[in-house]
Amino acid sequence: MNGFLHQVLSGLTTGGIYASLALALVMIYRATDLVNFAQGEMAMFSTYVAWSMINAGLPYWPAFLLTIGVSFLAAALIQLAVIRPLAGAPILASVIVFIGLLLVFNSIAGWIFSYTIKPFPSPFPSKPLWENSYISTHEVGAIGVTLVLLAMLFAFFRWTELGLTMRAAAENPVSSRLVGIRVARMVALGWGLAAALGAVAGMMVAPIIFLEPNMMSGVLLYAFAAALLGGIENPWGAVIGGFTLGILENLLGAYLIGTELKMTVALAIIVLVLVVKPSGVFGRIVLTRV
């Protein structure tokens, strides 16, 4: 029973990280109908940026905030410089650019920081909270950070002028331009926010899985499965999907299939959703006239 509880709780931690990254994917998908395959590698790179700052002597939290800002700006610039010129290009062209970005970030990270695994600090004390044996303080802290971040994001999109405008630009770009919304700017902002989310996810997962250029490939796969499971257009679905998969992954790993096959679970879920219910559990089917 204790083991079971431990698996569920630490599943919540990784689940929160999947949820963050899945939400990043959903945000970009809603604005552009494209899945950013480079989202994970961008998050990995952000984590290296944070690592460099901390190594240079900056305390954790200033480095944390600065990394979020840098990631936001860099992603908005990437969108404007690399992705925006592709507007109107065939989907395959965009997909190839995304995969290109993935490889570029991966290689640059390996080139600058080497492929050796590095420990990444946690801002939380290493002593377990309340002397419990179920969950580490970092895991509790990561869940907390994730929940605060998600709440802030939902409040932003629900109640602020800019958030509402960004949602409008994603829902109906032509109508948005006709009321004067600068849609291209909103899409760049969306990229920035998605990268900021990814940066937090990276910094929260790195103390658990260690820092190395390929650290996010598995996380992205799970995030992608979570986004699909929840319905790729549904932000709530992505969050619920993320937490569900985090727990499922741990339970299956502990009791059924062992840790070696964990990646296969994500792939199996992706295939299962696409075959059985492509709109996801919480998605809606959009009919198109042809």
């Binding site: 405008t165 949602r167 829902e171 109906n172 919304i181």
Partner: protein
């Protein structure tokens, strides 16, 4: 009367296909102008060309400023509001949020509030449904919402693409009555694209007739009503 918008040698393209051929027309300030024509004559494209939604060449001047080649977002800021044929509703937003988005270019919040009330005065049904999701409105209500959303930007020129499309005659009558009021009371000039020729000529001061992307005829609406070619093509007598 001075002209508010002037187009000359206007050509528009979809891909490599030219759909508007050297159009020239002008709209009088404060007037209602109609563009008539059959399906595929280029009426919608003309509106899309004015607000920069389609690739075009030629000269378009609005209140003295050259707008051909400007981005849609900038053209809207000069005072042109466009109600597209599909009504362009933000479906997952509430009625009031739709209006709020329509006021995107104005930064004056107190004016927004009074604009809400002014438009709910024209269309009381929108006031009753202000918290309702816009996607749940009927076609007529969505047309009213589209018109209101466009007016929230306080335009000098309103471009209306087939406002009667798919609506019950009684709804059409109401919408046309309010369009006339908006034109008369607020001095908003209107450029109207309409398949219902009778309705359009009844409302407008001046009209242009398009045929396959070319200007076929123009004149005061009263005269066009009596014109032989128009009667033959559109009234069947």
């Amino acid at each position: 009367m001075t002209s508010l918008l002037e187009a000359s040698d206007l050509r528009a393209f979809y891909g490599s296909t030219q759909v508007l051929h050297e159009l020239a027309f002008s709209l009088d300030e404060g007037a209602i102008t109609a563009i008539l024509g059959a399906n595929g004559a280029g009426k919608t494209t003309t509106l899309r060309a004015i607000c920069g939604l389609v690739r075009c060449s030629g000269e378009v001047r609005f209140a003295g400023t050259r707008i051909a080649g400007k981005s849609t977002e900038d053209i809207v800021r000069l005072g042109i509001a466009h109600v597209p044929q599909n009504r362009g509703t933000f479906l997952s937003f509430t009625v009031e949020e739709n209006l709020w988005l329509g006021a995107h270019i104005s930064r004056d919040k107190s004016r927004r509030r009074s604009d809400f009330d002014r438009l709910y005065g024209y269309f009381p049904i929108l006031g009753e449904r202000r918290r309702q999701q816009a996607g749940t409105l009927s076609g007529g209500e969505q047309q009213m919402l589209a018109l209101s959303r466009a007016l929230m930007s306080r335009p000098r020129l309103l471009l209306l693409d087939e406002p009667s499309f798919g609506l019950a005659p009684i709804t059409v009558q109401e919408i046309f009555r309010i369009m006339r009021r908006i034109n008369a009371e607020e001095g908003v000039s209107i450029l109207l694209v309409e398949q219902n020729v009778n309705l359009a000529l009844g409302l407008s001061d001046h009209a242009y007739l398009l045929e396959t992307g070319r200007l076929a005829l123009s004149g005061p609406s009263q005269e066009l009503r009596r014109h032989e070619a128009v009667r033959r093509s559109y009234f069947g007598s």
